[in-house]
């Protein structure tokens, strides 16, 4: 047994060395990526703009700086242990990013094939961040406030109702048909009603986000709770468990994998309705900013804001993955 493990470990240890072989002296992908980034910088600086977009020097500087760092890493990365290995993995992506920026710059700012105002070069987006930073930061704050309030309210209520729906026959008798009717209705369709029921437009926006994130959590939680292996409850009852114990110590942990699917869905839905929720009399917020800029054909600002939103969403998804991996550690043997 231990021999087998040693043999396995020996092979695992030897594999990277043989893989590293060709990269030992120089990280080829890194060198090519440096060239691609340098090309993007040269294109940006060297060719004249069809229409001015601003922040040309800054963008070229960033690309050139990136190229310089990549060039250093092309020689250094093979000697860095963990960070180097991680970087080497993303080599092809780094090349693609350099080429992508160069082509993007050419087709928009330099040749004008993709014209203003519908398209913007990368330095156009950068210029938005530079000139609009204070306003965007405030918008990010407002959006995060709305999102977190809505998401946490929605998830909490959705989870509690989901457990009740999955557990109690009577609750499910009344609740399930209603959920099936309400579930497919887009959260935004409730806007007229929310105007009547909520004292402020902000509360109405929170409700829309809560609804979008709560319903998938509710559906998945109830299906998770009701699909728990019946024998677990038999074991619990046999060992003297009360009804509350069966719910809290058996139904809840057993349904957690389902709940996380619901949380991921709720996260995506809540981001999808953010823009609409921020239509409701908001003065700040990324969704509001996108609509405001769309009305004035400020598409570069729109794109720049969309990038921020997708980065925030991706970050939250990553956080949720970390939480899932921690809480569902026991599942490792199954998935």
């Amino acid at each position: 047994m231990s021999n087998a493990i040693e043999a396995l470990e020996g092979r695992a240890a030897s594999t990277p060395t043989s893989l590293r072989g060709p990269h030992q002296a120089i990280w080829t992908h890194g060198a090519v990526a440096a060239a691609a980034w340098a090309a993007a910088a040269l294109v940006t600086l060297g060719l004249p703009d069809v229409v001015p977009w601003g922040s040309v020097d800054l963008f070229a500087g960033i690309m050139a700086g990136g190229a310089a760092v990549l060039l250093v890493l092309a020689f250094g990365a093979p000697h860095l242990s963990r960070f180097g290995q991680g970087l080497i993995h993303y080599g092809p992506w780094l090349i693609a990013i350099g080429v992508w920026f160069a082509l993007w710059e050419l087709t928009t700012a330099k040749f004008g094939w993709l014209p203003k105002p519908f398209f913007s070069p990368p330095n156009g987006l950068l210029n938005v961040y530079v000139t609009e930073a204070p306003r965007l930061l405030i918008c990010i704050g407002y959006t995060l406030r709305l999102w977190s309030l809505g998401f946490f309210c929605g998830v909490t209520v959705g989870y509690a109702l989901g457990v009740a729906l999955g557990w109690s026959k009577r609750f499910s008798y009344w609740g399930m048909p209603i959920l099936k009717l309400i579930g497919p209705v887009p959260a935004t369709a409730w806007i007229p009603v929310t105007f009547y029921f909520f004292p402020t437009t902000f509360a109405a926006s929170v409700f829309i986000v809560a609804l979008a994130s709560g319903i998938p959590v509710m559906i998945l939680t109830s299906s998770g709770v009701s699909s728990v292996n019946r024998s677990y409850y038999d074991v619990g009852r046999n060992l003297g468990a009360s009804e509350w114990y069966l719910v809290s110590k058996i139904a809840v942990p057993a349904s957690l994998p389902h709940v996380f699917v619901g949380l991921f869905m709720g996260l995506y839905y809540s981001f999808a309705v953010l823009v609409v929720a921020e239509m409701l009399g908001a003065k700040f917020g990324l969704g509001w900013y996108i609509q405001f800029q769309t009305a004035y054909s400020g598409y570069a600002n729109v794109y720049a804001t969309l990038v921020i939103m997708s980065l925030i969403c991706a970050g939250l998804v990553k956080l949720l993955f970390v939480a899932r991996d921690y809480l569902l550690d026991w599942q490792k043997g199954f998935i």
Binding site: S231, Y232, D234, N238, G240, A241, K249, A254, W330, G333
Partner: protein
């Protein structure tokens, strides 16, 4: 091992060695409106401290009878008494061990074994019993393992520890070794007898394995096909520990197989 068994029994003295009286029990399942009778007028008395095996063809209601005795279900007719009082609900003094270990996959071995104490709110006072139970089944080194990290035999041992930690007077074993490989099964058969002799509970074992029945039990009850009725009863009067090659046991095994309609 012996010390830990004593520790297990040092708990507040419960009613030891429950005798079970099954009186005129019939049971039927409702299947889409039609009734499927599974057990018919079963009369059986199990003396305190006895080890009784139930044998019979698949689907003859053996497992159902165990569920009725555990109190997880109520019989359609007749009554079941434990020490004279009717069984009307599940209770930790009568524990059912399933063919599947049914350990909670989200909890460690320790937490799984702790379930009964935790559910009854006595975990804090009696947590020492968990280690004793794990010692008893030889799983002390796997306290913090998750069920998916255990082999089939270890998982079934953990399920036994989860039952024994509650100091049950009656252990209902529903083919607990049915899904194990044959070597593990032979080992666990020996361990089961040893546990029974040490912890002094009453045991009712459902099995398909005639050799297992005569090796472990002092009485073997053979049921008919569904709806199950008692067809025959055999007393196994051999001292423990038994040997599976004991000629008397081999002869008895042949006799029981013949009753089951399998001439050898």
């Amino acid at each position: 091992m012996a010390a830990s068994a004593t520790a297990l029994r040092a708990a507040p003295p419960a009613i030891r060695n429950v005798g079970v009286d099954i009186r005129g029990v019939s049971h039927a399942f409702d299947l889409d409106g039609s009734r499927l009778p599974v057990l018919e007028s079963i009369d059986l008395s199990v003396a305190a401290g006895d080890f009784v095996a139930l044998l019979g063809p698949s689907g003859c209601g053996k497992s159902t009878l165990l569920r009725l005795v555990s109190g997880l279900e109520q019989p359609s007719a007749g009554s079941i008494l434990a020490e004279g009082s009717p069984i009307d609900r599940p209770d930790p003094s009568r524990i059912l061990v399933f063919q599947d270990p049914t350990l909670f996959p989200w909890a460690t071995v320790w937490s799984n074994v702790a379930t009964g104490l935790d559910a009854r709110g006595v975990l804090r006072q009696e947590r020492g019993r968990i280690d004793s139970a794990l010692d008893l089944v030889g799983l002390r080194d796997f306290t913090n393992a998750y069920p998916h990290q255990l082999s089939g035999g270890m998982a079934q041992r953990a399920a036994l520890a989860r039952a024994l930690v509650n100091d049950p007077a009656l252990l209902l074993l529903d083919e607990p070794l049915g899904k194990l490989d044959s070597l593990t099964r032979l080992t666990l058969q020996g361990e089961l007898v040893a546990l029974w002799r040490k912890a002094e509970f009453t045991a009712i074992l459902v099995t398909h394995d005639v050799e297992e029945a005569v090796l472990l039990a002092s009485r073997v009850i053979v049921l008919t096909e569904r709806p199950g009725r008692i067809k025959a009863e055999f007393a196994v009067e051999r001292p423990y520990p038994r040997h599976r090659d004991d000629p008397e046991l081999v002869a008895l095994r042949r006799q029981i197989l013949a009753t089951l309609g399998l001439a050898t």
